[in-house]
């Protein structure tokens, strides 16, 4: 992985982390809380993808990047479902 790609990955992670923290510190009305939580989980999924792709080098291994991407995506969907469950029942 080139130094430039690593630097871009790091800046992306910093931006995504700051957005997550700002969303969590924001005082949302009750109805918007679930939307904020969903956004936070999507941001976590994006951060994990950046670490897998840039830091762990999967961007240069498409087969494995696809496999890890699918597994990570399914895991985040599971987390999202469990997070939203109390609001539905």
């Amino acid at each position: 992985m080139s130094q430039r790609a690593l630097r871009t990955g790091w800046l992306t992670l910093m931006a995504l982390s700051l957005i997550s923290t700002v969303i969590s510190l924001w005082s949302f009305p009750d109805g918007w809380q679930a939307l904020a939580g969903t956004a936070i989980l999507i941001l976590a999924w994006l951060k994990a993808r950046v670490i897998l792709g840039r830091y762990l080098g999967l961007d240069s291994a498409p087969f494995w990047a696809r496999g890890f991407g699918i597994a990570l995506g399914l895991f985040c969907v599971l987390l999202l479902g469990l997070y939203l469950a109390p609001l539905m029942f």
Binding site: L6, L13, L18, S20, S24, K47, L56, F75, L79, L82
Partner: protein, 186 residues
Amino acid sequence: MSEAASELSVLDELPGDLMMWVLIISELLVFGAGLTAFLAVRVTDPVGFAEAQNLLNRTAAGINTIVLVTSGFLAALALPLREAGQNARARLALIAASLLGVLFLVIKGAEFADKAAHGINWESHAFFTFYYLLTGFHAAHVVFGVLILWLVAWRDAPRNIEVGAAFWHMVDLVWVLLFPVIYLLQ
């Protein structure tokens, strides 16, 4: 081309050491199970979990996220620096990455001490059982990761740096999933 040769090419595509990936996947499964269990138990008491979560210091945890992803960047940078023959800079990057790991532990330690000072322990609520279990287990990985970074800064062959940094990235990866679930989701 035989099937065996085709499988070999797929494995060869995987960056770094195969056994390190086995370890990474194992660790991700353990933490993944822990986070799943945490959210599953939360379903039974969302109000109690939200009240307990409000006792956490989100800002400190947010700072720790910045510390850890920056540390991961420095650890990742060490390999291209070493491969370019810039050995001293590669070592410096690894040492800086490890020091940020130590800073993460200091902030985490202060967080645990603050909870203890307020009489909060792992039996206070189911939330805190998971909180101490997951963040404590992660912190133990950070300690181990710091030691590995020191080791590969000393024995700085490119392969060593690649494997050591991969472990550190796993610690980073776990945190970016653990942080929002434990600290942020309300």
